[in-house]
Symmetry: C2
Subunit: 215 residues, 2 copies
Amino acid sequence: MSTIIKITRSRGRPAKDQAEYAEIYDRLVNDGVALLTEKGFASTKIDEVVKKSGVPKGSFYAYFDSKEAFGLKLIDHYAQYFVLKLDKCYGNTHRTPLERISDFMQEAREGMARFDFRRGCLVGNLGQEMAVLPGAYRQRLIDVFSEWQAKTEACLRSAQEAGEIDREIDCANKAEAFWIGWEGAILRAKLSRSAGPIDRYSKDFLDGLKPRSSI
Amino acid sequence: MSTIIKITRSRGRPAKDQAEYAEIYDRLVNDGVALLTEKGFASTKIDEVVKKSGVPKGSFYAYFDSKEAFGLKLIDHYAQYFVLKLDKCYGNTHRTPLERISDFMQEAREGMARFDFRRGCLVGNLGQEMAVLPGAYRQRLIDVFSEWQAKTEACLRSAQEAGEIDREIDCANKAEAFWIGWEGAILRAKLSRSAGPIDRYSKDFLDGLKPRSSI
């Protein structure tokens, strides 16, 4: 359906229409992420998305076949955005590997503060709602966590090689534990609408990495 | 409204009616907790609760003024049930303080396994949904976490006095960090529908308590 509309439109003023199509698409995705990170999937109605985006409801279905397809697109979009954020932090060679991990937590904290701790993590929100989500989301969400964990594991490994963290730490397990707990920190920051839980969790995590011999 | 109905009923067959009233009340609360721990607040409709409980919808409002009042009752009920669970584990003098903490995690894990990892923690679920919940829930949920944390802190302190955990650990901070991360573990267990995340988090938490000098 979306293909037909695209073709029809492109017969008219192709360049402008294509740009407009892309612009509306991006707006729907960005507004969808904003709403879902705040309210979750079940509580976000398509009516609300199109209202926020200033798009007629009928047009929504020219872009997405269903709310399910829309949600899956939002997961992909959010996962990609987050991977860029992780790569930026973990790939910053001006900082030591351990500082990079700390930088990521700090950056995520600032990201939440910008929205007054109302918006959480899309992937965490959806994980919590799994019982009422389309079944296809489960594996996709698990895969997203795996990807983030692999990146954190690699950074922890670099920190270990640099002697910044205890040499006995199993970096794969630690990265998994980090992401498990991190989603709890985001949840609690939303609940208390403050950075407190993120700060507490971050400090506890970093303390737990310290080389035992240095103490 | 509920008072009037209670009085009216008690004029008839008081003992039986009162027992019936209490029985239906308990059923609504238990079924409400079951639905909310699985699906969250927003996705659970009163229609579904009364259907599960086998109660006419009109009767629901003889017990609770609104969905908001019902939800608040469920939080109280769940918090109370959980405090009993914590007291049972943490107060078990046949086990060392550290074993008691481990026992709690094991018992919670088994509780989730019984429902095939479909049901999470009511308080965590609601925390995640805070953006769409009645404002009054926020402080109540924060207070529930504070109560659980205080109990865990006391048990950690006993473990510290017994020399089971590192003497440098700040038990208040550690108990807070535990509950922050624990909700993440429950969330991830629901997502993966497996005990894996709980086991990973539990092991990581217990490893982080070990006396440093013993290593």
